[in-house]
Symmetry: C2
């Protein structure tokens, strides 16, 4: 089986917040069954739900891509703890990637938006 990529957003009690993430990622979640969106807390599906579903589908390597701009307590402690539990429960490899905010592609995009606004 190929790798499954799970994009992980924070989650919110505000439905329009999570809808923005579904909208932002639908281009890839619709075109590839190897990509899914999950939330750390407050919104569904949870990271646990998506990892369990992927393991059931036969994926044995999952990558979790945090849709976060920077690493705070959640990405330093809470999410690694969730992933350790899930690895133990599901017996699959789960790799926590750097948050998108650390990726130069994203940083260049932010600078591009800023330069457009400064024109």
């Amino acid at each position: 089986m190929p790798t499954k990529l799970i994009m992980l957003a924070h989650g919110s009690s505000n439905a329009s917040w999570s809808d923005a993430f579904f909208d932002m990622t639908k281009n890839v979640t619709v075109s590839s069954e190897d990509a899914a969106l999950a939330f750390m807390e407050l919104s569904e599906p949870s990271l646990h739900d998506e990892c369990r579903a992927a393991a059931k589908q036969g994926y044995d390597h999952l990558k979790v891509l945090p849709l976060f701009l920077a690493k705070g307590r959640h990405l330093k402690k809470d999410v690694p703890a969730m992933i350790s539990e899930l690895i133990e429960e599901l017996n699959v490899e789960i790799e926590l990637l750097a948050p998108i905010g650390e990726n130069q592609i994203l940083r260049d995009a932010i600078l591009g938006i800023v330069h457009d606004e400064l024109k």
Copy 2:
């Protein structure tokens, strides 16, 4: 005077979180005095600090660009309320832009990162 662009991040009690935003934006804040970074809460400088400094420098039009991936309560209520107060206090035009997560440049960057990881 030209327009001043203030990039607004959430803020955190965790210094490495805010450092990530200084690092992410330094390319533009160093090269242009028309750009600055501020935080909504918990980190310094605050939005109030930066708007007051810009008004003092003579800027009469400020744009606030939220470095947020989606609009939640903060961008729907808290930040507009802060901006209303600042407009009244400083007698300058302050425009709240859409968060970067709603910009197609940023969404394309996220999809680019996802496609790279799916390869």
